[in-house]
Symmetry: C2
Subunit: 147 residues, 2 copies
């Protein structure tokens, strides 16, 4: 097993703080033809090592796409509070019912009406290795971290 670089606690707290009121991430993957594909995804807690988890159907386009090309970006935008955060990472598909049970909450029924025991549900695990945010009003970019 290869040791992964991890965010330090300060970087992680900053990232958490920036996105805590933005419950939706715009996830970008690459399609087989090289086009980018972006869609909104409901976010969950961030692990202490900077991992983010998402629920997905295991037969969805995004699953195919990350299996072919595992780089992704996650963008967080709140035009009201003018908060913009962007992170870059790699994604993998994880089928782990214990983790699904742990992360499940009923608001996910909007997208997964059959609930957490639906056998076609999987987790998309994103290991982020770089992040930036923009502070108003000047809109200057601040590097959160880069590994």
């Amino acid at each position: 097993m290869q040791a992964q670089p991890t965010l330090n606690a300060i970087e992680l707290e900053k990232l958490k703080d920036k996105i805590k009121d933005i419950r939706i991430a715009m996830l970008t993957t690459m399609e087989a033809d090289g086009d980018f594909h972006t869609r909104p995804m409901a976010t969950h807690d961030i692990d202490a090592d900077g991992t983010m988890w998402f629920f997905t159907y295991d037969n969805s386009n995004k699953v195919d796409e990350v299996r072919k090309y595992n780089r992704v970006s996650l963008a967080f935008a709140d035009t009201g509070s003018e908060t913009y955060v962007s992170t870059t990472g790699t994604a993998e598909i994880v089928k782990d019912q214990a983790k699904i049970n742990e992360l499940w909450s009923d608001f996910l029924k909007t997208w997964f009406p059959n609930g957490k025991d639906d056998p076609t549900i999987a987790l998309l695990k994103v290991s982020i290795h770089a992040g930036e945010f923009w502070d108003r009003p000047g809109g200057k970019m601040v590097k959160l971290f880069e590994m």
Copy 2:
């Protein structure tokens, strides 16, 4: 010159309507190492053929990135009104002072304090060829168009 597919008027009106209150797009490009890179960009009007224009410095990372790999995605997210739109396209760098003058407005001084006559300003022209939006409350995806 190759003829470009263009959005029809209905698709364009729908797209315009969806993003009219979201002044900021999250632009994703690819870095030389294959990572994705996303940042917020101030949007302007959409041309009748679905072209979107952005201001940039011609020595910025995004200019390098689209010169190497010209696919981009533009995501529009407003968590308040629950509006999510995503478009996919190709980008090119355009140095055209007449077009810069036409599109300039003074709010851009936040990012371009030297104003529209700064010789290092360029336009990033994005020709979009696919778009999606999500309708609440179900969050089901609706294809805007695909070319």
